[in-house]
């Protein structure tokens, strides 16, 4: 017998000015999900079930940008994506372009378990979700006041926001980073993609 272990993340590139209370909130969510995963592993639940369970928990918390509170495209819509891989059998499933599926990771799991394919996207993935009877929710479930505000900031700054969440109180920190990226200050090197300033990518 081996020993169980678990690691989780909620995104990288954290706003350096994230207020202390928001940091504590993030840690609280992470701790809760970590303990849920550890309890399942202690109970001998297979690893592939544990990662699905934990990611579902993380998706359901609006603090991070997957599932509820998902980030928005330049059109103001949600396009979520997820994948799962079972290393023992080297099986995998993935989905992209979801706008109504409450827990994308579970649809990825169904692609792995119930379809002959590895990856379904957009209309095909949504159709598969309905065939499989997964939980569907209104678009408003994903679009929170905070991410609408974030999209507005991103558009005003003419940039793509890297993977961090900015609190409602103190959103000026986001604006300062985005503006710095455009002006070519040291923060600009942080906001790069494919070797170019990230600001060139939006709007297309």
């Amino acid at each position: 017998m081996g020993q169980w272990a678990i690691a989780i993340h909620g995104g990288a590139g954290v706003d350096p000015n994230l207020p202390a209370e928001r940091q504590e909130e993030a840690k609280r969510v992470l701790r809760r999900c970590l303990l849920a995963g550890a309890a399942a592993l202690r109970a001998d639940v297979p690893a592939v079930d544990v990662v699905e369970l934990v990611v579902r928990e993380l998706e359901s918390d609006p603090f991070f940008n997957s599932g509820r509170g998902s980030v928005l495209t330049d059109k103001g819509m949600v396009e979520m994506e997820a994948s799962i891989m079972d290393g023992a059998a080297r099986r995998c499933g993935a989905v992209s372009g979801l706008s109504t599926v409450k827990n994308p990771v579970s649809l990825a799991r169904l692609v792995m378990d119930k379809s002959p394919h590895s990856y379904l996207a957009f209309d095909g993935a949504e159709e598969f979700a309905r065939e499989q009877g997964v939980e569907i929710v209104e678009n408003s479930y994903f679009i929170t006041d905070e991410n609408v505000r974030m999209l507005k900031l991103a558009k005003e700054a003419n940039t793509i926001l890297f993977d961090y969440r900015v609190p409602l109180a103190g959103t000026e920190t986001c604006g300062s980073i985005a503006s710095a990226a455009i002006k070519g200050t040291p923060a600009a090197s942080f906001q790069r993609m494919n070797g170019l300033p990230i600001s060139v990518y939006s709007p297309e």
Binding site: M1, G2, Q3, W4, A5, I6, A7, I8, H9, G10, G11, A12, G13, L18, A26, K27, L30, C33, L34, G37, L41, D44, P46, A47, V50, V51, V55, L58, F64, N65, S66, V71, T73, D74, E79, M80, E81, S83, I84, M85, D86, G87, A88, R90, C92, A94, G97, V105, A108, F142, L151, A154, I160, L161, F162, D163, F190, R192, M193, S202
Partner: protein, 131 residues
Amino acid sequence: TVGCAAVDRHRRCAAATSTGGLMNKKAGRIGDSPLIGAGTYACRSCAVSCTGEGEAIIRATLARDVAAMMEYRGLRLQEAVDLSVKERLDEGFAGVIAVSGEGEVAYGFNTNGMFRACMTEDGFAEVGIWE
């Protein structure tokens, strides 16, 4: 982005990643999270989930790179994570969490922070954001 990597007592590794992507991304943009080998990978050696600048993670096939470092170079999990983050990302910014089939946990990032937590059966536990 959120993700989880786990190994159970039967040494079965698994990983999952889920994301909304980048705020203000172009409609139709695919990131690293759903791409097996880029943002997510698992095999008998390890399980890996990535987060950060998707385009850089895709170029680096970052998750698979960690596994390859272990399989072909015989590195330990943390060494493989460190080398992949330092050597494979070019100018990209990303974070990685991973577990090995031996019950180890590891993480690495070259961003200013990464929301993360990990725990092992022998009692190690950590929840953190910054370096």
